[in-house]
């Protein structure tokens, strides 16, 4: 569906995108992650035909965007990171305007608009003025707008930025729905965990270069040498510590008053084995779990500890 080959974008002497190569299959949701200034927006603008690449190709459905940007307009839905709306325009008129801009005949616009406003949960705001909508609503409206021409590929630049947690969840729901509709989605964010659960594939880019690509699990396995495990016994702390200290794969044990954290470098089976040993030794455990937030650490590691 989408193939980026050796893409380079230079602003003067500064290289914003540096020989980036990515490929995304049909129906996938690809998370595009990187710290501020990584080149996400630049890459996405090139994909959308809003910016010339310095060199390299972006091929969508077999057609090269860099050579023929106008041919692909119909296939791409683009939502920029920052956008505005017009004054004195109602939601339906706003949608109607963009439907017209995509050459959709008057007759077909009504049902398309109703359907899209339903999907992004704005049907009740149909007759409101767009500039009176809240930020989250505007964001959803812009998403609906990018869908008027039923594009196959959606390029969404930080669609969840500036939204409160509730609105983020709603945005994710909408994206899941779109995935079920069979759209290929590229979505950028500078927060990896935010994308982890919904993306089938993640590309981490840093300073214009591809730092890692693959499914979330693959990236985790490839990049994290250690996993942090958190154990909380009801009692018999000393006995548990002794067992843990005997394990070759366990390192850097940190004792707190009621619980223990350690770094683990083995496989899932080996970790399960440790749990088994603790249980066999009759230690009453309240919890035994891998600590969350590793994803963030992975991200920090990959991107050299800059940003988030």
């Amino acid at each position: 569906m989408l193939e980026i080959k050796e893409l380079v974008k230079k602003y003067g002497k500064f290289t914003a995108v540096d020989h980036l190569s990515i490929s995304v299959g049909k129906g996938e949701i690809c998370g595009f992650v990187g710290p501020n200034g990584a080149g996400k927006t630049t890459t996405m603008r090139i994909m959308a035909g809003l910016l010339n690449a310095t060199s390299g190709n972006v091929i969508i459905d077999g057609v090269d965007v860099t050579k023929n940007p106008r041919a692909l307009r119909e296939k791409i839905g683009y939502m920029p990171d920052f956008f505005g709306v017009y004054d004195n325009l109602k939601v339906t008129e706003y949608m109607d305007f963009y439907a017209g801009a995509y050459g959709i005949p008057y007759k077909e616009r009504g049902p398309i608009m109703d359907n899209l406003l339903e999907i992004v949960d704005l049907a009740h705001k149909k007759d409101s003025y767009v500039d009176s909508l809240s930020r989250g609503m505007k964001q959803r409206l812009c998403l609906a707008r990018s869908l008027v021409h039923d594009p196959e590929l959606l390029i969404l630049d930080e669609p969840a930025s500036g939204l409160d947690p509730r609105a983020r969840v709603e945005m994710k729901e909408v994206l899941k729905q779109l995935q079920e509709m069979g759209k290929t989605i590229i979505i950028s964010s500078h927060i990896l965990p935010e994308l982890a659960e919904m993306c089938t594939e993640v590309c981490i880019i840093n300073q214009g270069k591809l730092a890692a690509q693959g499914s979330v699990q693959e990236i985790m396995h490839k990049l994290s040498q250690k996993r942090i495990v958190h154990v909380r016994p009801l009692k018999e702390m000393d006995k548990m510590l002794q067992i843990l200290k005997e394990q070759p794969l366990v390192r850097a044990i940190v004792e707190n008053t009621k619980d223990v954290e350690f770094d683990f470098t083995g496989t899932d089976e080996q970790l399960a084995n440790i749990l088994k040993q603790l249980v066999v030794a009759d230690i009453p455990l309240l919890s035994f779990k891998e600590k969350e937030g590793n994803l963030e650490e992975v991200f920090m590691q990959v991107t050299g500890g800059e940003g988030v």
Partner: protein, 306 residues
Amino acid sequence: MMNPVLRREAITSLRGWKNYAVLTFYLLMMTLGAGIFFYASVFQSYRFAFDPQTIVYLYVVLAAIQMALVVLSVPALTAGSISGERERQTLDLLLVTKLSPFSIVIGKLLSSMAFVLLLIISTLPVFSIVFYFGSVGIGALLGMIGFTLTTAFMLGGISIFFSCIYKRTVVSIMLVYIITGVLCFGTLILAALHIFVRSYQDPSMAEMIVMLIPNPGVGFFSLVDSQIGTNITQEVLYNGGNGTQSSFILWAAKNIWMLHMAFQLVVGSIFIILAAGLINPVREHKQKNKSTQTKKKMKKEKKGEE
């Protein structure tokens, strides 16, 4: 299908206050002009009577006010059309659609021309006074409307062009006013200099005509002049020229306004095409890079000279 940009502009401008303000001001000026004219020419004359010959000058006054208002308002209403979209961050959303940069620009131009048409129609009642007395015919009115619209086309085109370059609308408006000023007075000065330089050899009529075609003031004057049958333009040009003239040149001297309309259409189209090129994102950057490079080169060369 109607140009979506034009359609949207129509919807939003009917809801905004800006166009109503311009329209009100416009009607006020026209009525005021007519009022002052009546006061000065009719009620001040001790017979308190209408002289149809005088009414002809009411037409001239009204046409002149209309022209001045269009020249002032078109840049003010159009010079923010693209920079406004940029500032509001809606331009990218427009550029990723199937609309070509050209149709975006045309939509903007048509919406300001539609507004000018609205202005013209709204002042028809005032103009009807003139027709009532039969001083000027319908043909003259159509000529007037045509001339006003081509003026709006050229000024609108130039305004949109600057709107693509400058972020600040005021800068674009001022530049269009300056260009209008240069066309009005610059060409006159040029023509005067030409007469001065060539005084021993009498400048040819054709040369004078060519120099005055771009002048909107001369264009407007010649329009009204030919409509009310005074033919001052032709006489002035004829006296300036020497020898016998071909019939085409005589026609041109009488109808400089038609040539000016053609000039406006050509210039307007050129600026529109340039504007479309400027907002085309994919071509835009190549041009930008080139122009900055050439600027840098020029700077270097200047430094070298110093």
